[in-house]
Subunit: 392 residues, 2 copies
């Protein structure tokens, strides 16, 4: 592997994230796709797009499965092959991976990949139940544990093993809320203080309300093509130079450790090797901060710091915009929001903006190499992708 | 396109279909995968299999999503990339298609694709509701129509336009039940008479009980590799020479016609062209007989007869084992059963057996070219694949 572009992103779109009343998921998806089409006037959608993959986690929210076909129908892309991918909160990371396979296969030159979830019309109890379906039914759900509880176990183990503190976790929340204020599409656009985060109500101790990501409606997409065709559609492609996906036991109870995600480490290693990129070469990253502890573990699994030093990295401020390695400039799952099926390609959207200099007030200067890290469940699926600007 | 092998099937597995009490979907899936591994002793699963796609339609049956990771976990294939695909009853047809992309991409030399559904522990009302999620929520489900009703509309339109009769539909049931008696893994293994089919209780007029496929538990898989690597794993590969997938409006009400499925016609045309095969070259086919009318429409959409003549083809007996073009030698969805997520690759399993001469008492003599036709919903997704024996 040599860091050559595998595929190129020629456009991307993101719906406004938030509480989007009165819309179906398919309509939100069409909003994201419209932006992607509008950004890319040289693309003629009906003529050019040959396949699509749509990450969508839960049929329960809208009592609606078959989201691939529904999305093709509502975006005017009939009769192309359209498949829903599901890998819990990594559903659209898996869509991106599937789209890369499709472009590289030679069967589909231009592929639209994206994701969507409509969640806020359901009660918190319903959402918590639907999300829990991504954990193990007989050995986890049945006993009543849900995702905040699973991540609380990881946080407790991390605190015990490495001395990680609640303050360090809260610093992730403060940073990502700050970044969210710079993203007009973020669900929440307000600063929070460390004190506010630390004194927010407990959800699953040691995780408090501000350690948890948001229940959000939203959709996202990117359009992929072969690197040699990218110039036909845009003068500013972003190249994907590394892709990794890995799986792990569905149950947290089966793992050798609770303080790192084996799937994320493996996916990262594969992607770095393919890209010929080292962690220190990454200029901007979007990582899966479904809970603040998850961002700390992501730092470690991605090699952005040593095992056990995620808390210190957060505390150092180096992952804040303007510092050495900005992480989650979009606001992350914490402030931008976490419409679960949409998250993977929403991360790719942010990196696309950053590497094409379109991130406006949250632009990372001279960003040339980007990374996305998308996790499903408590880590049974992880995808990592590495991106390079066309300038590099 | 030239009919060259795209990918090769080096093994396949199928669980017993039926009412499989006391098992989770992941365990049924492992049963199918074990057969595939046992059939292919030269394959070393942990070393060789590089990715998997698992068709699974409904997370509601077991309150369990994230089936890709669960399947990787239960089949000993951690930590490979494992993604669930969902396209309603074409979920594993879509898995097969995704696996073909993956092999052709060059990123994964050996890919396991399959599907699974565990349904019989739920009441018929629950199953009917979960299946309905594949139709349009706001414009179909909400008004109370379910799949028997949607296919009844198609049947009525077909009868009105072409003079198709209830007897012709019943002949599909009689044939497929006969084939089921020859398949020890079929859910039902008993002959029925035309009279019994015609006098069975109405489900959604004109469809009666024996016009409907079965609620079944089951799993299936095939193992794909590059044609140039197939010889490493088996002396008897089956080559996939054509793949087609297409989408259509999710709602039946949006279609220009109710008497054919545009997605199936498009998928078939793509697959035939790629394979350089004409309908008259097909020796054996597995088609999506979720209702008897669907098999008649499949004959027409696949070009096995002219539009409107599906009923006459069924009546002629030519699609019975031993005759010109045996269709659904496995028993089809009608008698083998329809564990929805498993159906697409269960069809591929049957064709694999037929083209390797392993179909025992239901063997089609000199079968060299096979076809599978897998439909999602009322036709919003269709996949068609064309297979060739290694002898040809």
């Amino acid at each position: 592997m040599n860091g050559k572009p595998l595929v190129s992103i020629v456009s991307a779109g993101l719906s406004k994230f938030g509480k989007r009343e009165g819309l179906y998921a398919r309509e939100l998806f069409a909003e994201a796709v419209k932006e992607a089409f509008d950004r890319c006037p040289r693309l003629e959608p009906k003529r050019d797009v040959k396949a699509m993959f749509v990450g969508h986690m839960g049929e329960s929210y809208e009592h609606q499965g078959h989201m691939g076909a529904a999305a093709a129908d509502w975006t005017g892309l009939l009769n192309i092959p359209a498949t829903r991918t599901e890998a819990a909160c990594a559903s659209s990371g898996a869509a991106l991976r599937s789209g890369i396979y499709a472009v590289l296969s030679g069967l589909a030159d231009v592929v639209l990949v994206g994701g969507v979830e409509k969640m806020t019309h359901r009660s918190t109890a319903e959402v918590t139940e639907y999300l829990a379906m991504a954990s193990d039914y007989p050995f986890e759900q049945w006993h009543g544990i849900t995702f905040p509880g699973l991540y609380a176990l990881m946080a407790t183990a991390h605190m015990h093993k490495y001395g990680t503190t609640e303050t360090q976790m809260a610093q992730v929340a403060v940073k990502n809320h700050h970044h969210g204020t710079l993203n007009p599409k973020a669900h929440l656009q307000k600063e929070i203080t460390l004190e506010k985060a630390l004194t927010s109500r407990p959800v699953a101790s040691p995780l408090k309300m501000f350690d948890c990501s948001l229940i959000t409606d939203g959709a996202s997409c990117v359009i992929l093509t072969k690197p040699e065709l990218a110039g036909k559609f845009t003068d500013q492609p972003v190249h994907i130079v590394g892709t990794g996906q890995a799986s792990d036991t569905i149950g947290l109870y089966e793992r050798e450790t609770l303080t790192s995600l084996q799937a994320a480490k493996l996916a990262a290693r594969t992607a770095y090797d393919m890209a010929a990129v080292k962690p220190e070469n990454v200029d901007v990253a979007e990582v899966h901060d479904c809970f603040t502890i998850a961002e700390l573990i992501a730092y470690e699994d991605l090699g952005l710091c040593k095992a056990g030093e995620g808390g210190k990295l957060a505390e150092s401020g180096e992952t804040r915009l303007g510092e050495r390695l900005p992480v989650n400039t979009s606001g992350g799952l914490k402030a931008k929001g976490h419409p679960v099926g949409a998250t993977g390609t929403a991360q790719a959207y942010e990196i696309y903006l950053q590497l094409t200099g379109q991130a406006e007030q949250r632009q990372v200067k001279n960003a040339q190499t980007g990374l996305t890290h998308n996790v499903g469940g408590s880590g049974a699926t992880a995808t990592v992708h590495i991106y390079r600007s066309n300038q590099q």
